[in-house]
């Protein structure tokens, strides 16, 4: 049993950290968040050069063929840097759906350009009801065409393809089709833009049945939780640094236990979320019997913890933490958006309850 990273995983993490620090410093994040799409073609090309856009996809499609643990390490670093733009929607969401559901032909056509950084895509799941369970979807494809509306679709304005979850299957549509209208939805997280997408008899290519989505959604949920861990870590680091330097009553405020204990709790919450995320990634990779439960545990804990860590970090900063110029609110905004995305803590506690309380036998312990 070894619950640490191996050398190549550490190398990947360190080089990702270095890459984001160089190519996506916080000044660049602030520049991009003021644009309409938060997308930068140059940055995207560099992400592709690093192999990040194909990190977990088969080499046959131009991917790097790494595993879930490598994906979450990358996501953690992306979260730490607050990477703006369509990485989550293209690689984590759409990429995973294509990887787990598409035929070989569809993989060559859609996944390969994503791996090479030549195309972007997103997944449209939510509708008016705003629930994350694919079984609540109403939109239905009729004769290979879609009619209706999807909401909260990330990065739709810069996506070449939109993968649409419908009642009778998962479909891919070309975003340039005249039967598609994309309108911004103005969300709290300025670094990841949301859209409503309307379909007017838009022709759609079927990828598979909706019940085949669960693995892709589990992968995306774990990756999103990993990104949240990166945000928590950055919030903690900024806060500890501030507590060491900011002085009141003639001492660094980190000397006071009321402040120090907030930081200790931030550390505990961040590390606990990280443990849960690492395990979920490993369990998914191994296709362990408790993988689905592990994903929900990771997401429910990370969802609550990233909000709490953000609260504590801003509180420790005092008035400075409430200013626009301080970076903490950028992480706080992302944390709130990610807390809800793919199901908040309440949603995943209920899913976990179905797996544990409603199951006949609760497995007491694996060795």
């Amino acid at each position: 049993m070894q619950f640490g990273l191996n050398e190549s995983q550490e190398f990947l993490r360190d080089s990702a950290r270095k890459f984001f620090a160089g190519e996506c410093p916080i000044a660049e994040v602030r520049r991009l968040m003021e644009t309409d799409t938060a997308f930068d073609a140059n940055l995207w090309a560099k992400l592709a050069d690093q192999g990040y856009t194909g990190i977990i996809f088969p080499e046959e499609f131009g991917g790097v063929g790494l595993g879930m643990v490598e994906l979450i390490l990358l996501m953690e670093e992306a979260g730490r840097a607050l990477l703006p733009g369509p990485f989550l929607s293209t690689v984590v969401l759409a990429g995973s759906v294509l990887d787990t559901m598409a035929t070989r032909e569809q993989g060559k056509k859609y996944l390969a350009p994503i791996c090479r950084g030549k195309a972007r895509a997103t997944v449209a799941l939510l509708e008016e009801e705003g629930t994350w369970d694919p079984r609540d979807v109403c939109l239905t494809a009729v004769n290979g065409k879609l009619q209706g509306e999807k909401l909260f679709v990330p990065d739709a304005a810069v996506a070449d393809w939109i993968i649409v979850v419908a009642r009778n299957g998962v479909f891919l549509v070309d975003s340039q089709d005249p039967g598609i209208r994309v309108e911004p939805m103005l969300g709290m997280d300025l670094t990841r833009k949301l859209y409503s997408v309307q379909f007017y008899d838009a022709p759609a290519e079927k990828l598979g049945e909706a019940d085949g989505l669960s693995r892709a959604l589990d992968i995306a949920t774990t990756a999103l939780a990993a990104e949240a861990v990166g945000g928590m870590q950055r919030t903690l680091d900024i806060t500890v640094e501030y507590a060491k330097t900011r002085k009141q009553f003639g001492k660094p405020i980190g000397t006071f236990q009321a402040v120090q204990h907030q930081c200790a709790d931030m550390y505990l919450e961040t590390e606990s979320a990280r443990s849960a995320v690492y395990y979920a990634a490993w369990a998914l990779q191994q296709r362990a019997p408790d993988a689905t439960a592990a994903v929900s545990i990771a997401k429910l804990y990370a969802s609550d913890a990233s909000r709490t860590v953000g609260n504590r970090g801003i509180q420790v900063h005092g008035g400075m933490g409430f200013t626009w110029e301080n970076d903490l609110h950028l992480y706080y905004r992302r944390a709130k958006a990610s807390e809800t995305a793919l199901g908040d803590a309440t949603c995943h506690r209920e899913r976990l309850a179905r797996l544990t309380i409603d199951a006949e036998v609760v497995s007491a312990q694996r060795a």
Partner: protein
């Protein structure tokens, strides 16, 4: 990252599991409710049996009668013990905390004299650390030892001493130099509890039991050969013991917590709420799921800490994180049990209507002490703040 057990770990588990299945006492359930005074000989005999099988101190180096087990193997050991509901060992502090400290700091003569009888439970050990005016601020302790001719004379009082009433020996922290800063004037003595001038009194706690004692020392003579480590280096020796305390506790608790949350889930299927099983109550479902998740995260934090400690070599502040997490989690778990059981939650073991022989009313009260014993949550947060995050000392 590979969370599967290695072939060596599997072999270790299978060997111990097979031994345990044959040797674990079948009548522990009849004994566990009895006062410790009555069951103690039983626990001694059980430890002796484990020792004869070579299982009493798996974490110790082989040359001292252990198995040199890795942290993961130690975790497996405690999981197997909990899985088969094996009784605890009589000399818990000697095996878990004090023996390892003697191995690290003791002279050859001390090791030869004490180690074998710790293993065999012939000599039970207790720990004289806290005092009425030195709890969290342990280094402020006042029990003094004045040097005489080849011995020290000890005067003072200790509190919260587990196993004081049955202890043959005590790892005692005393002040040997009152003139220097408080951390620099301490020494650890190994004290024979049968020495003249040692008086042990029970300390009744809020659960009604007396797990702990007060110990009074009046002109107790301790031979100089019983100094553990160096004179005035007692703080380092004591901290070494405390590190073992914070590291070792968590491992054996995980399985107990898993069993408790699974039992609550099982109970929720029969307890009624608003005309339906509590398992269908949306609020209780949320709380049960949250608690289930946190128990699993406690396990995962422990495994990650083990991997880190294995890489760095020694128990460190990771133990503080575990201690903080499990103690506060147990209070949440016990409160959830109370909420689920409603009016039945309060019933004591002796009441005929009590659920699960009253373990939940006992557990609720006992868990109140979890965030105080073995270093309060506040002290654990100080340790994390200072030693992990590098914040300035707050005291």
């Amino acid at each position: 990252m590979d969370l599967n057990l290695t072939p060596e770990e599997l072999a270790f588990r299978d060997e111990f599991r097979a031994w345990l299945q044959i040797n674990v006492p079948k009548d522990w359930a009849d004994w566990r409710e009895k006062p410790l005074e009555e069951s103690f000989p039983y626990l001694r005999a059980w430890q002796r049996k484990l020792h004869d099988g070579g299982w009493a101190a798996v974490s110790w180096p082989k040359e001292y009668g252990g198995r040199g087990a890795t942290l993961m193997q130690q975790a497996i050991f405690w999981e197997e013990m909990a899985r088969l509901e094996a009784p605890p060992m009589a000399n818990a502090l000697g095996l878990g905390l004090i023996g390892p400290t003697i191995i690290a700091y003791g002279t050859d003569a001390q090791k030869k004299k004490f180690i074998p009888k710790i293993l065999s439970a012939e000599e039970i050990w207790c720990q004289g650390f806290s005092e009425p005016n030195a709890g969290s601020d342990l280094a402020a302790l006042q029990t003094e030892a004045r040097p005489g001719d080849g011995h020290y004379v000890v005067n003072g009082q200790k509190v919260w001493t587990s196993y004081g009433w049955v202890g043959d020996w005590c790892e005692l922290v005393v002040r040997t130099d009152p003139a220097v800063p408080k951390h620099k004037g301490l020494t650890v003595l190994l004290v024979d509890m049968k020495s003249p001038g040692v008086e042990v009194r029970p300390l009744r706690q809020m659960t009604g039991e007396s797990e702990f004692n007060e110990i009074f020392f009046r002109d107790v003579r301790v031979p100089a050969e019983n100094i553990l480590g160096k004179v005035n280096d007692g703080w380092n020796v004591a901290v070494s013991t405390l590190m073992h305390e914070r590291g070792a506790y968590g491992a054996r608790l995980i399985l107990i917590f898993k069993r408790n949350i699974n039992r609550l889930i099982e109970l929720s299927r029969t307890i009624q709420r608003n005309g339906k099983p509590a398992a269908q109550d949306p609020v209780l479902r949320q709380k049960l799921a949250q608690c289930f998740a946190e128990v699993e995260i406690m396990r995962l934090n422990q495994l990650r800490a083990f991997s880190r400690i294995t890489a760095t070599g020694a128990p460190g502040p990771e133990g503080s994180i575990q201690k903080l997490f499990w103690s506060e989690l147990n209070q949440r778990l016990q409160q959830l049990a109370q909420e689920l059981l409603g009016p039945y939650g309060q019933l004591l073991a002796s009441d005929g209507h009590a659920v699960d022989k009253g373990i939940w009313s006992y557990g609720y009260l006992r868990s109140r002490g979890n965030t105080i014993e073995a270093g309060t949550s506040e002290i654990q947060r100080n340790i994390i703040g200072h030693f992990v995050l590098g914040l300035p000392r707050s005291y």
